[in-house]
């Protein structure tokens, strides 16, 4: 996610100090992706370099912090961002997918157990998100609700995938798997193929 676009979008509301931007960003996304103030100022520096924001004249507070405002180019960038779909490029490295793939071949690992443990844990996380949703709904925090919905659907997708893995494993267990047999027990595999 580009912090850059997030900060630019926030500046649509008017000029802000870096610490205000950080607080707003976290408040509107339920602190799901915490920012450190260093990141905010580094990003603002780059945005200024690229002509997308400008420091507001005589906008310094008592501690010498500067207030930043969008330039017309910055405004165009925000509009462009909202109208462009987020690109899903190369899939990010997924520890769980890698873990399951390896669990299949590493001796002594019960892949069913890995699936089961993960599913219970993810459902528990899903329960936590759901409780947070109840609170967000009560306080009328729509932005935070949407972020939570996104986390809920991602967790759900993972659980569906785990269920799917489980039924696929069961189906595979019912049929001989030459490739894996060869990798584990060459002798036994040869016998099987000779018999055929």
């Amino acid at each position: 996610m580009s912090i850059r676009n997030g900060l630019l979008a926030l500046l649509e509301d008017g000029a802000m100090y870096g610490y205000q931007l950080r607080a707003e960003f976290e408040a509107r996304t339920g602190a799901t992706w915490p920012l450190n103030i260093g990141q905010v100022y580094t990003t603002l520096g780059r945005l200024e370099r690229d002509g997308l924001v400008v420091p507001v004249e005589s906008g310094d507070d008592d501690d010498g912090h500067r207030r930043y405002a969008l330039t017309p180019a910055g405004r165009a960038e925000v509009t462009g961002w909202f109208h462009t779909p987020v690109a899903r490029g190369a899939p990010p490295r997924d520890e769980l997918a890698i873990k399951l793939a390896l669990a299949l071949t590493v001796p002594g690992v019960d892949v069913h157990d890995v699936v089961r443990t993960q599913r219970t844990s993810t459902v528990r996380t899903l329960q936590d998100y759901t409780r947070l949703k109840v609170r967000a709904d009560e306080s009328g925090d729509l932005a935070w609700l949407l972020v939570l919905d996104s986390l809920v659907f991602q967790a759900e997708a993972e659980i569906r995938w785990l269920d799917h893995c489980e039924s696929r494993l069961a189906r595979f267990a019912d049929r001989p798997s030459p490739a894996r047999t060869v990798a584990r027990q060459p002798a036994a595999a040869e016998q099987t193929s000779v018999r055929r």
């Binding site: 339920g30 602190a31 799901t32 992706w33 915490p34 089961r116 599913r119 219970t120 993810t122 459902v123 528990r124 996380t125 899903l126 329960q127 936590d128 998100y129 759901t130 409780r131 947070l132 109840v134 709904d137 986390l151 809920v152 659907f153 967790a155 759900e156 659980i159 569906r160 269920d163 039924s167």
Partner: protein
């Protein structure tokens, strides 16, 4: 109450259910034990064929276990006569189904009042209770509407009001959101959750994790056996540590 605690609404003790016999015997459930307390919503998750619907029919006294016992508010259903069992089903257990199961020729209030009238209550009193029950599910304006003039979400709310009218403290819900879109389904779960928070005990059978997540505990069923369960709820520290944890 025979179980000691007054708040144990449903208990399954080592319940086994075998359909058929001999070589063709199918074990729908094998030695399943579950306790559901008042104020608690428990979700049962599992793929089709895992035994979750069998579990619900046993819990509601619609079927009998081959082995083990089912207790509703402390009463062992296996020790009851036919008429006593019918009374338990009528007075103590409420059902919510995927397809709502409302009677089309009756208004919302009449549908909700029906179990009370069947139980011998006067029509006027039953209606009063029904209107109150409908108000609890935010449908006081629709008491005189027929099911066909209501949305799916509204019909399911009527079904929940009907399931909990009177002193019934056990709701058994079988995929209650299956026929609804995601936001309407969520509103129904929110309502079920609220009814449990208000003191009912609920069992929610579903194959969807997003729905099961509304429960306090989620029990995973596979091939008639409980394979796992999420622990006790409301770990506040994990809620607050959300950002850092993920």
């Amino acid at each position: 109450m025979t179980t000691g605690g007054t708040d144990l609404v449903l208990e399954l003790r080592e319940v086994t259910r075998v359909h058929g016999g001999g070589a063709n015997a199918v074990h729908a459930l094998r030695g399943v034990s579950i306790q559901v307390w008042a104020g608690e919503l428990v979700a049962i998750m599992g793929p089709s064929g895992s035994g979750k619907s069998t579990l619900l029919t046993l819990a509601g006294g619609l079927d009998e276990p081959s082995e083990g016992a089912v207790l509703v508010e402390g009463r062992d259903l296996g020790t009851l006569s036919r008429s006593e069992l019918a009374a338990v089903r009528r007075r103590q257990v409420g059902y919510v189904f995927q397809d709502f199961n409302l009677i089309p020729a009756l208004t919302a209030a009449e549908n909700v009042a029906l179990p009370r009238e069947l139980d011998g209550m006067s029509a006027r009193r039953a209606r009063r209770e029904a209107v109150r029950a409908l108000a609890e599910v935010d449908l006081h304006d629709l008491a005189d509407r027929f099911p066909e003039d209501m949305s799916g979400g509204q019909q399911q709310r009527v079904a929940i009001a009907r399931a909990l009218i009177g002193d019934r403290r056990l709701v058994l819900a079988d995929e209650p959101t299956g026929a609804l879109d995601s936001t309407t389904g969520e509103a129904v779960l929110r309502l079920l959750r609220a009814r449990c928070d208000a003191g009912a005990g609920g069992v929610l059978v579903t194959h969807e994790a997003r729905h099961a997540a509304w429960a306090d505990r989620v029990i995973f069923l596979r091939d008639g056996v409980i394979v796992d369960e999420t622990g006790p709820p409301a770990r506040v520290e994990s809620l607050l540590g959300l950002g850092a944890e993920q």
